[in-house]
Symmetry: C2
Subunit: 326 residues, 2 copies
Amino acid sequence: MKRINIKDLARMLSINASTVSRALADHPDISDATKARVHTAAKELNYTPNLHAKFFRQKASGLIAVVLPEFNMFFIPEMMKAINHSLGKNGYTLIMFFSNNSTEKEAEIINHCISWVVDGVLISMAEDTNSLNHLNVLRDAGIPVVLMDKVIENECFPTVTIDDFTTTFDAVSHLIHTGCKNILGVFGHEGLQISKQRFGGFIKALTANGIHFNANNIIYKDANFQEKFEKTIQEALYDGIFFMSDELLSVSYPTLVQYALYPKKLKIIAISDGTFPNQIYPKADYFLHSAYELGTVASESLMEYIQDKNKEVNHFKLKTYFKTKY
Amino acid sequence: MKRINIKDLARMLSINASTVSRALADHPDISDATKARVHTAAKELNYTPNLHAKFFRQKASGLIAVVLPEFNMFFIPEMMKAINHSLGKNGYTLIMFFSNNSTEKEAEIINHCISWVVDGVLISMAEDTNSLNHLNVLRDAGIPVVLMDKVIENECFPTVTIDDFTTTFDAVSHLIHTGCKNILGVFGHEGLQISKQRFGGFIKALTANGIHFNANNIIYKDANFQEKFEKTIQEALYDGIFFMSDELLSVSYPTLVQYALYPKKLKIIAISDGTFPNQIYPKADYFLHSAYELGTVASESLMEYIQDKNKEVNHFKLKTYFKTKY
DNA sequence: TTGAAAGCGCTAACAG
DNA sequence: CTGTTAGCGCTTTCAA
């Protein structure tokens, strides 16, 4: 079935294409009678606008690109829900790209975004990305960008993150204040800025409480994390473990139960969006890092940058909340 | 910075726009010398094609829409990884929509897909969707569709699912063969076809093994599932529970541990993509319903329908695999 | 091997 | 209130 377009409608109603266009857009110039005729005809003939033509003409796309390092089961789904909700409300359509944690792929994607004439970009950086040079093309093209969660501190591009340092400091302090003396810290990829920040908070919490820091009490995520973790918890008698993410907690949890360490012999605390800690029993304490909130703030802030291209670059640090079921 | 287009390049190289277009597309008619000149100029001036213009002209979009009921943490991420991988390899771009389990929203989204002139649609239906009439517009527009996972059986549109009935039959039979006599079945939304199919397999397994079916031994997911579940497992002494999904298992698991039922007093088995059963200890048995495989099969099959619009409609039923750690 | 010209569907001056 | 006209950036026939 041939697709009906504005010209077709115009011809059938014996009016001009521009009148049809305006009627469909509910332009105030057009008489109610004409609008009614156009709308009924459009409905009857199943007219569907061609957004490529529309946005092409208008030099905008109504598209927002979301660029993510990977499709995690934690964090990403909640964040995407928020993004989808905020953008949907404002009539934007989401296009998604995954860098698979490769800077090179990330750069390709960025160019692709320009080709799609996206109205804005939300991006969480790949593990090994350590500069934002590949984002400059977006700035040159006048496309607003907001960095989320996995970011690199900078002056040019706005960021939305949690206060990694403070949250970790508080979380580890909590363990110490409830009696832990020998604490293991479990961190994500060593290169990530969030790992570094959280590591900083970890050390600070120890030293502030007069506990000596020992580099053996740290594990970073890598290819053979599982083995390393299993070995580590057997080697020393930890009485507390800090996990910097849900993913790390979920991967480690079975081992902790297997060796009968949790819940009896040690306390755990995580930075989490609240999912996994509530999927186990006893439920774990955590500092809520709301993925939904992050997604919301990032999208809304992106839309402000789209509205006002000269809005000053700022850096949100979201608060976290201590959560316990007891 | 003004965006460079083909005309600009043509003017600067004193050749025609069509030549530039052909050179960039590596058309055989164009001399290598010209191609080289064009490519270097393009690189130098940071030329980025405008895909809206390109696809608009070509009456195709390179876009594939993925329409999902919601953004679950289980299943969806793995499925999306697969879809993203398959489509990316073939040069398609993903646009995503969420129906929030509303048929009405689903219908809106479908129209939106037409407006975006998508080349194909992958869709998993909302809970309360019970007819495929709202997909007819896609067929009329000649846009191929593949239904995935949460589908409605039909003649018009191809589907990719697991063999729900048989898998459940096998899973429940497994419980029975390992000694369970009083089995609870935990199912998703009652309206979903997959719930019905799986329920069918459940009953069949019981009766085939001479176990009387009691309607009290079934829970469907709804708003106060948690309470219902807690009450149910206290009322009767079940020795086995079948969970039709990871989500149901993960929500119920803490309660099972809390009441000291798992792992000592009862066996559990789930239809799962393998994530949650391995995040607990002892690890749970499950029938692997590979989200990745489903995503792959669905996307590849969609691409075949895009290639050959007359390819006959067929219905994949993916196999599942029994998994145990012992 | 390259150029000229038309047109994809839509909107926005401008004119009436 | 409605019509005329031009053009967004690109590809593609046709012609040279």
